[in-house]
Amino acid sequence: MSSPKPAFWTVARRDAVAGYVFIAPQLAGIVTFVLVPLGLVFWYSLHEWNVLAATFSYVGAANYQMLLADPNLPSVLLASAIFSAGLVVLNMSLALLLAVLLDQKLRGMVVFRTLFFSPVVVSLVAWTIVWSFLLQNNGGINGMLAMLGIEGPNWLRTPTTAMISVIVVQVFKNVGLNMVLFLAALQGVPKELYEAARVDGAGRFKQFRRITLPLISPTILLTSIITIVGSLQVFAQIAVLTQGGPGMSTTVLVYYLYQQAFQFHFFGYGSTLSILLFVIVATLTFVQWQLRKRIVFHEN
């Protein structure tokens, strides 16, 4: 109505303008807070940056050479790998088990579902603090074990049990999310398929392996991507439970990055570690996305 040249403002043109206006905030945000910082982090990684002396000088690949020679790197990568692998395996299998249990037609399932899901909505740091309290040497868990005549380890001060603790605390916190996604997928499997399989004499386990798993494989793939990428971002739990210790046994990549950049103020080297994190996340996502074609049964 306000357009001076009605012939120029066709419906298609109007739509195009509307489209750009609609996406403008998101696109501007991605450019400002994701793409430019990604460029900057790469630029920083090529520099030696001394915050105290306020020097910023180009050093080429020196930070990357330092990365390869970093004596802490193998331990950091190993801790990240153990944490992610342990978390994903435990989380996915427990989520699937709980979803299968909740899928049974029994009374009171909604109550169980609500309770299994409840840690998801408990503040992450609050949840971690309670577990930290429970896992103290004289804390609740060892207290209960002592009542059974078992002497528990000092969970957070022993390298192996510290890693196990960090994984388990995170699994119980978030497994409810994957659980409800699996439950929705299970409920989407047509019941006739099970009937047919039963007529053909397939047992429950066989039905699960041959019908359920293939049909929910798209959900399994998607949740595994989200869970793996999420596992690489773990920070608060480590900071609250172990501060990366004992020794460096629970210092995962993001925690190491935080220490280098924000505790020791090595911004150049911290940026190099950021690039490493980016490469790992991108590679894992890409590989899983490619695997989709091979292992996922169907997609719509």
Binding site: L38, Q104, T114, L277
Partner: protein, 280 residues
């Protein structure tokens, strides 16, 4: 799967689920009950499932040791603004990517999706430098702007796009024939229909903001500005030892309100999350 479970099987299933529930429910119980124990009872042996003595002064001490009300407000208002902002940005972008034809829309969508590959941990160093340059360190701006417009909102945009793609287009077509503009159609027709997806976006955006930890400790430095997750870790004595009962009182006050909202609205919560854009 089955309705024909034997009674013995039923009992076994209930038993198994009750055992599995322990690590999900017990920590919350232990947090609440320990928060009202005097410090001398906190590590009592054998452990008390119900406090043998009550000490409610821990709750008052939370507010004496930290500007806890202020920190509570910080977390609450940041999460509210981020949730509202994300809903606006992601529903508009999601709608455009799903419904409006414009040049390069697919290419732009791929660029936006890059945000999913670049967690904010990767860009935290340059973001810190940018906000330092803009004079926004020790303000709440980084905790508001980055989630609304940056990487965390991409997932919301993706969910909204998936929802709008699945929504039948006929209603909007009729309105277009009547000459309604795009924004009118979006606002009066598409958005009201998108309530389930918006609900899911609101829930996970709120929880994401409420749980944020790395960003606050990087960007904020004064206790007045702290958010709850950061404040919870500050209840330590002069030697750095944790003041457990006070810390647990603060944790209880942080966790319980959201938990109550969840229990009241659990159906919308769980089903909203389960049925939105995430299914295959």
């Amino acid at each position: 799967m089955k309705t024909d479970l034997s009674p013995r099987m039923t009992v076994a299933l209930y038993g198994l689920m009750c055992v599995l529930l322990i690590p999900f429910v017990f920590p919350t119980w232990w947090m609440v009950t320990s928060s009202v124990k005097p410090i001398s009872d906190i590590f009592a042996f054998p452990p008390d499932l119900w406090p043998r003595r009550f000490d409610f002064s821990t709750y008052a001490q939370v507010f004496e040791l930290q500007p806890f009300a202020r920190q509570y407000w910080n977390s609450a208002y940041i999460a509210a603004v981020v949730t509202a902002g994300t809903m606006a940005v992601s529903s508009m972008a999601g709608y455009a990517f799903a419904r409006i034809r414009f040049p390069f829309s697919n290419a732009i969508f791929m660029v936006v999706l890059l945000g999913l590959l670049i967690p904010s941990e990767v860009t935290i160093v340059p973001l810190f430098q940018m906000f330092l340059k803009w004079g926004m360190i020790n303000t709440h701006w980084p905790l508001i702007l980055v989630p609304i417009f940056g990487a965390p909102s991409v997932f919301a945009t993706f969910v909204m796009r998936q929802f709008f793609i699945a929504l039948p287009v006929e209603l909007e077509e009729a309105a277009r024939v009547d000459g309604l503009g795009r924004f009118k159609i979006f606002w009066t027709i598409a958005l009201p229909l998108a309530r389930p997806a918006l609900g899911a976006v609101a829930i996970f955006t709120f929880l994401h903001s409420w749980n944020l930890y790395l960003e606050p400790i990087v960007f904020l430095s004064s206790t007045q500005m702290f958010t709850l997750p950061q404040a919870l870790t500050q209840f330590t004595d002069a030697y750095g030892g944790a003041m457990w009962n006070i810390q647990l009182a603060a944790a209880t006050m942080t966790a319980i309100p959201v938990l109550l909202v969840f229990i009241v609205a659990q159906k919308q919560f769980v089903e909203g999350l389960a049925h939105t854009g995430l299914k295959g």
